[in-house]
Symmetry: C2
Amino acid sequence: MIESPPLRLPVAVDVMGGDHAPAAVVAGAMQAYLDGLPVVLVGDAERVRALLRGSDLPPVVHAPYAVSMGDPATSVKRHDDASVRRAAQLVAKGSASSVVSFGNSGAALVASVLELGVLEGVSRPGIALTVPRADGGSLVLIDAGASVDCRPDHLLTWALLGEAYAHVLGVDAPRVGLLSNGAEAGKGPRVVKEAFPLLTEACGLFVGNVEPEAALGGACDVLVCDGFSGNVFLKTAEGLVSLLGERVRRGVRSSWRARLGAWLLRPVFDELRAELDWRSRGGALLLGVPAPVVVGHGRADARAVRAAIGLAHYASQRRLIDRVTEALVAGAARVDAASVRGEHG
Amino acid sequence: MIESPPLRLPVAVDVMGGDHAPAAVVAGAMQAYLDGLPVVLVGDAERVRALLRGSDLPPVVHAPYAVSMGDPATSVKRHDDASVRRAAQLVAKGSASSVVSFGNSGAALVASVLELGVLEGVSRPGIALTVPRADGGSLVLIDAGASVDCRPDHLLTWALLGEAYAHVLGVDAPRVGLLSNGAEAGKGPRVVKEAFPLLTEACGLFVGNVEPEAALGGACDVLVCDGFSGNVFLKTAEGLVSLLGERVRRGVRSSWRARLGAWLLRPVFDELRAELDWRSRGGALLLGVPAPVVVGHGRADARAVRAAIGLAHYASQRRLIDRVTEALVAGAARVDAASVRGEHG
C-alpha cells in the first residue's frame, strides 16, 4: 500500500510557556518559519504581534492564559484557553499537525490528554528523549519527568512506548532496561520491583535492571524510569557536562601550555558540545498521545525553539506516531499471546 | 577541656564484600597496613591467610559468611557471623574504631544498626558523600543509596545529619537543599512534598528544592535525596565522566593535531581525573550510627580500598562522629525551640 504524504499542516507553538517566553519562543518560531517550516503561534495575540517584525508573518491564534507555575496541572485543567490547550485543540480539530511547548511538562501532558486523548492501551503518556551513549549509540529514556509519582503499570506502558520509539529510530530489536540502583533483579524501590515481572513478560528483549552508568555505556537501547529519577538522570547529566566544561576552561586559563592544547583540541570539544548540548536536540517527545507533542526545555533560547519545531515537523512528516502505534499494537499482541500461553504469573 | 587523643584502635575491614573480594580488599588493606594504619581483617580466615604474604601481617578475625546478594538485608539479619556484622561487633565491644565494607550498602546499614544502634533522634542512618561542585566547593549528598523506599522523616534525619557533616567539614552555615525536579516549592513526588515543611522548620538554612544541575553548580552545601534518586544522581555523574572521557579519547585518536593538544592539556585532565575519580575518594560514610562506617564502592580495587580505610581511620582520629552528634543535638534543640515558639504547623 502506498501511503499519501501527510499534509503540511503547521506546528502549533505554545509561545507562553518557558523561562524566556514569549520573546525567545517567538524568535525561534520566526526562524523556523523563515526556514520554510509551517507554524502557527498560540498565545496572547497582542504580545506576540508586538514581537513580530516584517511583512511575511506566521498566523497567530489568540490564547491569553499562561499556565500558572504554582499548580500547573490544575491550572491547565481549569482554563481551556490556556495556550498549551489551545495548541492541542488546533491538532484535535485538524488545523495543526503537532504541538510544541516549553512550559511545564506536566501541564503539556494534561493538556494533550484532555484535548487529544491517549492511544489504546496507554495507561499514561510518557516523555521520551534520546541521550548519546559512550558506544556511539543512542539511548531512549522514558519517562523524563512528566509523572513523578508513578505506578508499575505506567512503567509498563513506557517500556512499550520506548521500545516502539527505538524501533522507529532504527533499532531492530531494542534492548529494554529498567532504571535501578543495581543490576540484580530485586533491586530498587517498590514500584521498580513490581514493574520488573510486567516488563519481563511484555518486552521483546528485556535486559532487567540497569544502572545509569551501564545505560550510558550501552547496556540497553531503552531505559524505563519513573519520571522523578528519569529527570534526575537527565539533569545530573546536564550538570556534569557544565561542571566538566567549567573545570576544563578554568584549567586552560591556568597556563600557556594548556591554552595551546585547548586550541588544538577545539574541533574535538566543538563536536562533543554539539552532541551533548540539549539546545541542539530540540526537546523531548510526549509518547502515548495520538499526535506529536514536543516538550522543550524550560530554558530554551531561540536556537532550541527552532530545533524543537524542527523535531515536531519531522515527527509529523515521518508519521512517527502512526509507527509508534503500530509497534505498540505489535507489543500488546505479544503480551496477549503470552497470557494465552499462560506464561504470566 | 582538653580531650585525650582517641586510641589507635584498628579499622575493621570486611574483606568478603565487593565485586573483587576478597583479593582486592585484602590487597588494599595490606597497603594500608604497610602505610602504618591499624587494620583488622574480617572474613574467611583460611582464604584471607592464603592471600597474605610476608612476616609482618595484620590480625584476622574469622567470619566465614559472605552476605547473599539475593536478599542482603534478610541475609545479614539471619547470620550474626556475616563478615560485615562481625566487623561491626568488633567496634561494639571496643576492639575496633570503625568499619569498612565494600559489600551491599543496605547490608552494611542493617549490620551497623543491629550491632551499634543509632544516634538519638535518628529515624534511619543515611549514606553521605562529598561531590565536587563547579564553583570549587564540595556538596554533601545524603542518602546515596542505603534506603530506596523512604519516608519524609527519613529525609528530615538526613538533612540534619548532612548539615552536621558539612559543618564538621568546615562550612559555617551549610545551605541545605532538597533534591527535586524543579526549584519551585511543591515540585517532586509525594515524599519530597511532605518533607519540604519539615526541612523548612528544622534546618538552619534551608534553600528549598534544588535540581541536580543547580546543586552541582553550587546552589547548596547539602543535597538531601531519597536513596534511590541519590544513587541515580551519583551513578549518572560517574557515567557521564566515563562517557566524556571515552569521547575525548576517541576524538584525540582522530588526528595528530588533537593528539598534540591532548598531550599539552594532560596536566589539566590529570587533575580533573584525580578530583572526579571515586577511587581516590575512598567511599561514603554511613551517618547516624555511633561509629564511623565507610561504605566503599562495590567495584573497589586495591587503591580504592586503601583510600576507604584511610577515610575510616581519619574519621575516627578526628572524632568525626562525636562532632556530628554535637551538631545533631544543636539542630534538634533548634527544632524543639521552634516547636515551643509554635512555629510549626
